[in-house]
């Protein structure tokens, strides 16, 4: 097996008395698109800033293509593109001049500079805006410009912090397409976002963070397909008329758990996930007189997965802290 392209090992970063990043470890293969998910304050941006050499860890290491980012920031910077969560355009600078400047900082001049700039302008469709002042661009255009700048140095790893934040649906769709194209070009992408459904569409792998720690690291497909720890499956069941009969059936039928009630049906999980058992359950459902018109296996939403994983992680931590130490008497239960 080849060495990972990015290796994050036991990263710790303190801000005063707050441990913003608390032993974060994960690896990334070349060409992967990875989503970093977490609530505000989970430590995503701090982790990304350390990866981008903009901050330093109090302990732990980050290696990019074998290079330690703290020891070789100059070499690492040539291989990464950083897109911050908040991007303020320069005043009195046109789109063309802005890209020209960053092209020059990459060492390009003359014909080579023109060719490179034209490439990224073409890719991000900024051509008609080349003479417009940066501070007169819309939010979506500004994000595209920021991405164009990030791509100028032809980086191996793109670190995008909340790239879709504040974009309208059209700009968001355009951005998603750009990510898809970059993925096609074999770039490695690390994207953080609050919009989990979008990350699910774009990313191969997801890293969930909570309280400065990584609470889950796995591929997106299995996360969406695989419903819960007990190997069950989720179903959307639609009935003819009010779902009261279906709700009553679910309440007494063992192995089923109601997740969500709708006007015309429910979303529920079934503990049995093999096809034969599911077919048997469907036969039983219709035999018991439930007017089923649609019975469909649903992928788990990433939001649900995220919340479940966070809950499981916090429950496990709470249980661990509540367990008495060896030799210590357990606390008596509370009585009313």
């Amino acid at each position: 097996m080849s060495a990972p392209f990015l290796e994050v090992n036991e990263l710790v970063r303190w801000y005063g008395k707050v441990r913003a990043v608390d032993g974060v470890s994960f690896t990334l293969g070349a060409g992967q698109v990875v989503g970093l998910i977490g609530a505000n304050g989970a430590g995503k941006t701090t982790t990304m800033r350390i990866l981008a050499t903009l901050d330093t860890a109090d302990s732990g290491t980050v290696r990019l293509g074998g290079l330690d980012v703290a020891e070789h920031p100059g070499q690492v910077r040539r291989r990464i593109g950083w897109m911050p969560d908040h991007f303020s355009p320069y005043q009195d600078v046109t789109v063309g001049d802005y890209l020209d400047f960053f092209g020059r900082t990459c060492g390009w001049r003359g014909a080579e500079l023109a060719r490179r700039t034209a490439e990224v302008v073409d890719f991000t469709e900024l051509g008609p805006l080349a003479d417009r002042l940066m501070d007169k661009l819309s939010k979506g255009q500004t994000q595209r410009l920021c991405l164009a700048r990030t791509l100028l140095g032809d980086p191996d790893l793109l670190i995008l912090d909340e790239p879709a934040a504040g974009l309208d649906p059209k700009a968001r769709l355009e951005f998603k397409n750009l990510v898809r194209l970059l993925r096609g070009q074999g770039k490695t992408l690390l994207i953080s976002s609050h919009i989990l459904s979008e990350l699910g569409e774009m990313c191969d792998t997801l890293v969930f963070m909570d309280g400065g720690r990584v609470v889950h690291h796995g591929d997106t497909e299995s996360l969406q397909r695989h419903d819960s720890g007990d190997g069950g499956a989720t179903f959307d069941i639609t009935v003819h008329g009010p779902p009261s009969v279906l709700l009553a059936w679910l309440a007494v039928r063992p192995g089923w758990k109601l997740l969500e009630e709708r006007r015309d049906g429910v979303r529920a999980t079934c503990r049995m996930a093999d096809p034969a058992a599911i077919a048997a359950e469907l036969r039983r459902l219709t035999a018991d007189g439930v007017p089923v018109i649609e019975f469909r296996r649903a992928g788990r939403r990433l939001e649900d997965a995220f919340i479940n994983i966070l809950r499981e992680g916090r429950d496990a931590a709470a249980t661990k802290s509540a367990e008495p130490a060896p030799g210590q008497q357990p606390e008596p239960p509370l009585t009313p």
Partner: protein
Amino acid sequence: MNAPATPLPPASARHDDFPGWLPAMLVKELRQALRARGFVGLFLTFHLVAILVFWWTIELNTASGLRDTFNWLNGVFWVLLNVVLLLVMPSRGLGSLRMEIDNKTLDLLVLTRLSAWRIVLGKWVALVAQAALFLVAIAPYGVVRYFFGAVDLAADLIMAGWLLLGGATLAAVCLWVSGLPKLFRVILPVLFFLSFQSVGLSSFFSASLSGRGGLGRLPGPFSLQGVAGLFLLGLLTLIFLGLAVRRIAPPAENHARSARLLGLILLAGSALVSFGGYPGADAVLGFGCTVVALIAAVELSRDCLPMRVHGSTWGGRAWLRGFSRIMLPGWPSAVLFAGVALVPLALILGLDPSRHSGARSGLAVAWLAVLAWQALVFPALLLSYLPPSSTMRAGGTGYFVVQGLFGTISLMAATNSAGYLAGENFARTLDAICQILPVFSFWLGTNSVKTGFSPGNIIGQSVALGVLVGLIWRQSRIYWGTVARFERSGTGNPAGSP
């Protein structure tokens, strides 16, 4: 995947257009600045004001004769030039780094292949280039004076050159200030203005109005004073640009090394030049010491752990390791550097017979160098007890605030002004304590250096020195522990451990 970093394009593809020959940062800054409404407005307003004032001056004074008209035009010309070159253009740098920091665009600049030095230098050269543009634009008004009197072209060019250089130094100061927290960005220009006022801002401009450029007749660049002035301005510019660079440089960059090497060379040069005690030798040595003290002070205000990347070499011979230790960023290394810098100074001061009147006085002079080291490092020790984040927030100015506070108390003790405020007993007690405490003992010791120090004071000061060294050792254990780990293994955790 271990793909190599993107290679630089071939040289033939790199300089096809004129901006291709200039640094990228300079090109961007000039394009941005010359397009800015502020600059265009200023340029047009300046010409409008200049035309109106010149026309008005000529109208008013033609009746009183050509000579008076010439003097008035001369005055107006120099006032305009002073205001633009020394006030308006440098102050455009006050927002320069701050805007980049606040808008988070600095992160994007730092991530390019531009070093922090290139970023700051690009901004500074752009400011100077704009000032030079103004200088060229004002030239026609200088020519108008020719029709009313005899213009000394050489003197005018020298004066304009000095003003441009002065403005360039002030631009470097403004760039540094622009990277500081808001409080200091307000306080420092006010202090600067007040100090400028105290040395005669009004007389400066009245002298300008009388046609002498505000500075009298200045030396040419090829005279001894001219060369000294150029050197001084150049050095000050370099120091302030260096300070500005530190405000934006990533922690992995070691800017202490170059500054300290420069300081050591300067100190050695000034000490050698001043040997023999000819007239002005004290000033030369004092200048060298001040620069080294300033270089040390800048780093003494910085609380950070060393990173592996800071040292060019960690292993090797003992002298190489020792040299590496005094070239690291962070206050513990600066304490060592200050000590190393003061050893040759103490030797030269002690050995130069022209500076003292015997062995006793020679030892007193050498002891004064030790007290100077104490004075330099004591505020850093005090600041090390504060959380690093608070000292970083103060932008490294906390050290200078503490030093200024101690200096003021020392002044009170030395001038006996405390006696007027709180009575003679208090003044005597304050004087006795200050004779022993670090910082104060140095300032008070400068008074008694010719006569030698009293044994009682030396014992007290030695005890204080011992305590100071002990506390410094205790506070810098983690720092030197990290260094020792790098030296032992040659590898290690670059970020260190908290």
